[in-house]
């Protein structure tokens, strides 16, 4: 079953409370999203580590209920 954008945002914010999360529904089908996540906790981490933190927050939904989530992660400027 597809996930809605607010459910994705909630899972990310539960794990990374300071995160600013912007989610776009790319195809309008509730199944292909792009998320931009900005969090202080990313600072000093590699991109792989940053994305792994977000995937961890999504608790196994990535690759399952969530087919496509294009991720961009950054520490605040």
């Amino acid at each position: 079953m597809p996930m809605n954008a607010s459910a994705i945002e909630k899972l990310i914010k539960d794990a990374l409370p300071d995160a600013s999360v912007t989610i776009r529904d790319l195809a309008g089908d509730g199944d292909h999203y792009a998320a931009e996540v900005v969090s202080e906790s990313f600072r000093g981490k590699s991109r792989v580590e940053q994305h792994q933190m977000v995937y961890e927050a999504l608790k196994g939904n990535m690759g399952g209920a969530l087919h496509a989530l294009a991720l961009q992660t950054n520490a605040p400027d």
Binding site: R47, H51, Q52, G60, M62
Partner: protein, 110 residues
């Protein structure tokens, strides 16, 4: 280490650049895999494409191996570099080219 883990480990150590993907470099069966193929072809590096759709064990095994939930996955010199988003971001910033050069990855002699 399970058999599939050992096999994956062998692949990423035996080849400078390995792309675990859906489909083959000639016939990608997923847009994200296709994007990474295009980038690697553009860079002109020699790489080994492994089609995870050939085996459920492999498809799951590679996700466990890298602790990464999605395909494609790019390995350079035995090290996981990223999935489609990271590879595209690195390529656009010119970092992927630098990374390959620093790791001493050979260009394909076409």
């Amino acid at each position: 280490m399970t058999a599939i883990n050992e096999w994956i480990d062998g692949q990423v150590k035996a080849n400078d650049v390995v792309l675990f993907m859906k489909g083959t470099p000639a016939f990608p069966q997923c847009g994200f895999s296709g994007q990474v193929v295009q980038i690697l072809d553009y860079l002109g590096v020699t790489y080994s494409g492994v089609n995870v759709l050939e085996s459920d064990d492999l498809r799951q095994g590679v996700k466990d191996f890298s602790n990464w939930p999605t395909i494609p996955q790019l390995y350079v010199k035995g090290e996981f570099v990223g999935g489609a988003d990271i590879i595209r971001e690195m390529f656009q910033a010119g970092e992927l080219q630098t990374h390959m050069a620093e790791k001493g990855v050979a260009k394909a002699t076409a």
